[in-house]
Symmetry: C2
């Protein structure tokens, strides 16, 4: 717990003077002011986060946390539980979606066993950080003890510290865990105080019957556990998951180390919400990679005042959206670093300030 | 003209059986079906466009067409006209936005002088394809002769043929030309039959006064020239521009050669609309990279039934949005090519077909 407290205490809000200094440079590049839209915002945010006037994002890491969920026994998932360890092996073999997209954007993938119900002893290439052999069924009682939840968060913080020390400059979050939309919806319901059915996903082709069952499972979990929204660790331990906790810890650690962290979809956003409820200033360090059709996702992003970068109808998880989001942020930072100024390129500036910038030849 | 006719005659609609074959492979990869959303659609479209079951997009080219506009003398742009050649030199020097983003996504940039009012004789690294020394002022008469417009389209077709022959697998379009949103809005108004003010951009901070003036200029241009919407070459020559014509030609050539072509923002979309009015099947080969706040942009995309990939508030042009769009399409193609199947990875498939795919651990 002292590790978490220490981390929370070292998170500060970003200094607005860095945004201004970054925008000053951006406004002097050979383009109409603000014409690269969000790319410019990304660059200014990275300057403010890192407090470096010439930041780069060459070393990129995506952390894919894997954990199992006792609630899978309620039949809330379309896939059998053994898929969690099978997909861990797929990640290690390089054949999963996250491997492909991380390669595409030049990021390294770190696969973390934080709570898979499978013995990975001796398996190479995996970060062995197992806290539990899967959580317990939240319909019947708490997912974890408070101590287990704290340990999971500490794993995330430790990874952030380790990879910051190794020179990584941006992090992405990812998840793998059969049934993990169920605890994510539970977390969303607790903090946003919305009815469960409003924060629970129907996905593609879900039957009314299956949706109703999933909502009931989550409603039961909230009744049985009575998680306290004023105590994020209580919520996390009672209705959360190990990978969600690891993601929350990674975000806390990244925020403390002033490293931008890009969250993936619904499950990562639940982790970000835990981090946000522990320390709202984490928002300054967090980028939301993408949005999905999940209403619960939007509601959580709104609570944190985060605007998603992409909208590609992704719903795979693993960190796949985060990989693509990282590439957009890096594009912004490269614009900031590599474009010529009007003076350097010998390009004339605006002839007046009344005519719209958009009418410049493009 | 025979070159254009020949090209139009060789454009065919994409064969739906290729989409189906591609989706079959996508559905067998280690992810819930359709969970990579638009990335999967991009891959299936590239398979259908190229008619190759294992397409790759390693060789990428962005064509930035530069031309001047006589209508600049009406004061419709915030920047002086000499910025067009100055930016051409900036492109050649590698310091412009398109250079940075093309490098980021691994694309080559081809800069084409198709109608700049500047003598580039002897300048290296530039494609010397000048048709006119800038267009004439459309408020007073036609921008070009019909023969000049045809020649500009042929330039685009020739470039598509040349780069297809050199092994390029995907094209992006870009533009540079002070005042070129004015002819683009004129083209949008003619084909969509919307009032000029509905397809004319206000951009950021445009005054009511400047906006009204720009609308008047375009309304005058339409009155003076009376472009015939049933004759796209008439519209292009009377109220278009050389770079818009070059982009239209590149899209026609790409469609004939079965090469996916990614259009950038407002000006490129006006070029795509010319190509579309000449041959609506070009739509099958065209991806819209991004959308902007320009209402006219949306209205043109709707006419072509194209859905933009990104929404990053870009309004620079040059091909910057196309570069980022290409990277998203390439991500989809890599997913298609590189992900493991359930069988290859030893991952169990869905246990039933009633439960939602989205509840799978991610």
């Amino acid at each position: 717990m002292s590790r978490i407290k220490e981390t929370l205490n070292s998170i500060r809000a970003c200094d607005p003077s860095f945004y201004k200094a970054a925008q000053k440079r951006l406004d002097n590049l050979t383009k109409p002011q603000a014409s690269l839209g969000k790319l410019e915002e990304f660059a200014a945010r990275v300057v403010a986060i890192t407090e470096k006037m010439e930041p780069t994002l060459e070393k990129k890491a995506i952390f894919t946390f894997a954990g199992d969920h006792g609630v899978a026994e309620e039949g809330v998932s379309a896939f059998p539980k053994e898929v969690t360890p099978q997909m861990v092996f797929n990640f290690l073999g390089g054949g999963a979606g996250i491997n492909v997209l991380a390669r595409h954007v030049g990021a390294d993938v770190m696969v973390i066993d934080i709570g898979v119900d499978f013995d990975f002893e001796g398996v190479e290439g995996l970060a062995h950080k197992k806290v539990v052999m899967g959580t317990r069924n939240i319909r019947k009682g708490p997912a974890m003890t408070r101590a287990e939840a704290i340990r999971c968060i500490e794993v995330g913080i430790e990874l952030a510290d380790e990879y910051a020390g190794r020179g990584y400059q941006i992090f992405g979050t990812g998840d793998m865990g059969i049934a993990n939309t169920t605890p994510s919806s539970a977390i969303a319901a607790v903090f946003t105080k919305r009815p469960v059915e409003e924060v629970t996903g129907r996905g593609t082709g879900i039957s009314d019957h299956a949706f109703r069952d999933k909502v009931w499972v989550i409603e039961d979990a909230l009744k049985v556990n009575k998680p306290d929204p004023k105590d994020p660790l209580d919520v996390l331990s009672k209705v959360g998951g190990t990978e969600i906790a690891g993601i929350a810890g990674l975000i806390l650690g990244a925020s403390a180390k002033r490293i931008p962290v890009v969250i993936d979809g619904f499950i990562s956003t639940a982790g970000a919400l835990i981090a946000h409820e522990l320390e709202p200033m984490t928002k300054d360090y967090t980028f939301a990679a993408h949005t999905s059709v999940e209403r619960g996702h939007w509601i959580m992003l709104e609570r944190m005042d985060l605007t998603p970068i992409l909208n590609l109808n992704l719903r795979l998880g693993e960190g796949t959206g985060a990989a693509l989001g990282i590439s957009m942020i890096e594009a912004g930072v490269k614009i900031y670093n590599e474009m010529a100024t009007f003076g350097e390129a010998g390009v004339s500036e605006r002839q007046d300030s009344e005519v719209p910038a958009e009418s410049k030849g493009a």
